[in-house]
Symmetry: C2
Subunit: 460 residues, 2 copies
């Protein structure tokens, strides 16, 4: 190992390698998802050539490598074990170019999402990948996990914003596929393999991202409704009447809304807590003169059709922030019921109410008095669940996992909608994928990383 | 071979296998792109299980298999050689289910695109994959080639409409990934490998497609402009002012427009032939009351800003058809200059005018008096070129290829935007992709099809 360490040190400048006590807590922070070991070293390369040299050395030595981005993942995907070489892309953080005509951004993998947002904004565009961890998450990590987030219903998952990328294979081969065009059918679209495979097939070093025109208006409403068919009907109405402008369609089951109403005194739930479902929706537009009126006309239509019982429309940015805080800012309430288990699952939209009903009942049956809160991105087929059973033992966690993922399996859903598999969901991968699928994943892994050095134990 | 044929015959019903003179011209029609051999037989399975049995037999026997959809491809991707087993999906043509809530269609690979359009329409939705060959092209072929077409700027390539699929590997393994959710990050997204790989990695048998809300309005304009920066500026203005409603943005260089004006008496070019560039644009909307007015306001703005010199707006569906015919219906003119070579390339938008100028000049230098017409989907970075040099010899074809693909290589473009590689562009694959990329494609091919039985000689 000493030989390998000195060889690794020779690939980078003095601050490009950290060992021993110099390895800060950043590199072993699991955010409560599993536990980390003591890495042999942390490599902080500044170029693709350095990444290639590091991987070649590790591959020749059979040394396992754990790639790290902003360390904001929620499934232990960047957690190192004892003796691993951590490869952090944090110093590869240049935005190389923005092409306003082609609407593309070329950037290194270590660029923090918010920095990329700002650069896109300065150029008059929007980079539509967005999520709460925007201040720390990096482009490479977002691509490696095919991150979802706030704008999926309009702009798709991260995959849809990636036009090209550069990845380094386990043996150090640099695979440069920095395509800038919307259309390119010249051979296999290799970049797809590295998007969402959590650093297990190759290490993303650079990317070409698609930028979008800035929406000029955002209209926001928070409504209450009494049956799930109306929730679906409202989604359908918005989508058909607003010409693809739907930017977010978030649903909260009443248990969550009531919880916020009772346990989060700093929030301002806008409606009386008397409905069964609450929907928060954003509609993006480009016509400041008429968009708001048009939005309110459609809301009126929804009310007349009996789809929504009650609702408020944001009249200002402050209003909008208050409404979104009800959906996203329940931290104070959660802290009061901690420890809790959180879930990120997807399923056909039609089965969502069934999922919620069964989840609450089945957990109550095993853990009487438990708190089960359901909310999520209904428009994307993605729900989140927060479960607190009074204690946080591994055994209870497993029991709740088995209950919820068992329902997901019945419904043909996915145990991971947007967070990935990492180490945390690995045991449940086969609950959403067939044996043949898992075997083909293993074949791909063996082909691209025959010694199994890349992010060992993650996904598979 | 006789043993294999009788084993193959046993996998299907009597009309599931064709041999000898029963093999109709459909199965060897190359549409002028290369030449076909005499296949050993044509298999016409009716189920995934049959496809699996056929592939297993062929793989065990080391017999090559050529998958076929609607046979509308333009690069020889479905062309069989002597002794190949043709596997046509034409009888797997059921639309299994439409889920109006999840907005998904589940269908077999042999469904003809137009049939799928009609079914989506009946359910109140639109399946946005669309192209001229809609009456013959099948879903499996569209997926296997990642077809582009008319709606890419709004809805993306075929890849973006595929939520799930089922594919059969060379050895008969059935890989069922019939995901129905917009979000699913449970392990590698295996379906991506089969999209756009032209049947060389596996055979698509079924799919889950994403449906979209029907646009309620379409506004169409045909405008003339005098410099390329204005073309780009007009695209940018439409995109920013019309909230993502842009459905098509087609550009024609003056040489093409003048050609239509002179050689296509049945068409009705709407503007005097005095501009350098012509743009045909569709904008999709959802508000019948105000969309047209809004569109005309933006056109007025473009005129005031000096971006467009002249233009007409379609006042009826018949008007729209006439305008689109100028872009798509120049067949009578083409026939007069045949034989011709046609091209489908992509490049960064900013370099398009450079491409057109160089292409016309370089071809003229080698073939004085040649006709070179440039037009295409500018919004997608995709241009088509039609070149007639007075004769159609292989040598001339190769010379024109070398000229055009050489420019594309210089500009960082792609030798195939939407048609794929097939056999026709195979020699030029390395002009758009690096050696490392081609080697990884070969690795994937060896992994998934170790005996190389699937669509041999295509792509790689």
């Amino acid at each position: 190992m000493t030989d390998l360490l000195s060889d690794l040190a020779a690939t980078v400048d003095a601050s490009g390698i950290l060992t021993g006590d110099d390895i800060g807590p950043r590199y072993t922070d699991t955010r409560g998802h599993g536990s980390a070991g003591a890495p042999a070293c942390v490599m902080r390369p500044t170029s693709t050539a350095q990444v290639s040299a590091i991987l070649k050395l590790c591959n020749d030595a059979g040394r396992t490598v754990v790639p790290q981005g902003g360390m904001t993942g929620l499934v232990g995907g960047g957690t190192p074990g004892d003796g691993d070489v951590v490869l952090s892309l944090e110093r590869m953080n240049a935005i190389e170019e923005i092409d306003p005509t082609g609407r593309t951004m070329v950037a290194e993998a270590g660029v923090v999402l918010e920095t990329a947002h700002d650069a896109a904004d300065d150029a008059g565009f929007v980079l539509p990948i967005d999520l709460g961890a925007r201040g720390s998450a990096t482009l490479g990590g977002l691509i490696s996990t095919n991150a979802g987030g706030n704008n999926v219903i309009r702009y798709g998952m991260t995959r849809q914003s990636v036009l090209g990328l550069e990845a380094v294979l386990a043996d150090g081969t640099v695979l440069t596929s920095m395509n800038r065009m919307l259309k390119n059918n010249a051979g296999y679209d290799l970049k797809q393999m590295f998007i969402g495979s959590e650093g297990t097939l190759g290490l993303v070093t650079r990317c070409v991202l698609r930028l979008q025109s800035k929406p000029l208006t955002t209209s926001t409403a928070f409504v209450g409704m009494d049956d799930f068919q109306s929730v679906i009907g409202f989604l359908s109405l918005l989508d058909s009447k607003l010409g693809g402008g739907l930017g977010a369609f978030e649903v909260m089951w009443s248990e969550y809304y009531d919880f916020v109403d009772e346990r989060c005194p700093s929030l301002k739930p806008p409606l009386p807590a008397e409905h069964k479902y609450y929907v928060l929706t954003d509609v993006l537009g480009a016509d400041p003169e008429s968009d708001k009126e048009r939005f309110e006309t459609v809301l009126e239509m929804a009310h007349t059709q009996g789809l929504i019982q009650n609702g408020v429309v944001a009249q200002s940015d402050a209003d909008r922030d208050d409404l979104w805080a009800v959906r996203e800012g329940a931290g104070e309430g959660f802290r009061a019921i901690a420890p809790m288990f959180t879930y990120d699952v997807s399923m056909p939209i039609l089965t969502m109410d069934d999922f919620a009903t069964r989840a609450m009942a089945d957990i109550e049956a095993v853990f009487p008095g438990a708190t089960t809160l359901i909310l999520g991105h209904l428009g994307d087929g993605n729900l989140h669940a927060v479960v607190a059973v009074g204690e946080g033992s591994g055994e209870s966690h497993r029991k709740v996992n088995d209950i919820l993922y068992g329902i997901i399996r019945d419904l043909g859903g996915s145990v991971s909608a947007e967070h990935g598999i990492g180490t945390e969901k690995r045991d449940y991968l086969s609950w959403s994928r067939t044996d043949a699928e898992v075997e083909v994943m293993r074949m791909l892994k063996r082909t691209l990383d025959p010694k199994g050095i890349l992010n060992p134990g993650k996904v598979l």
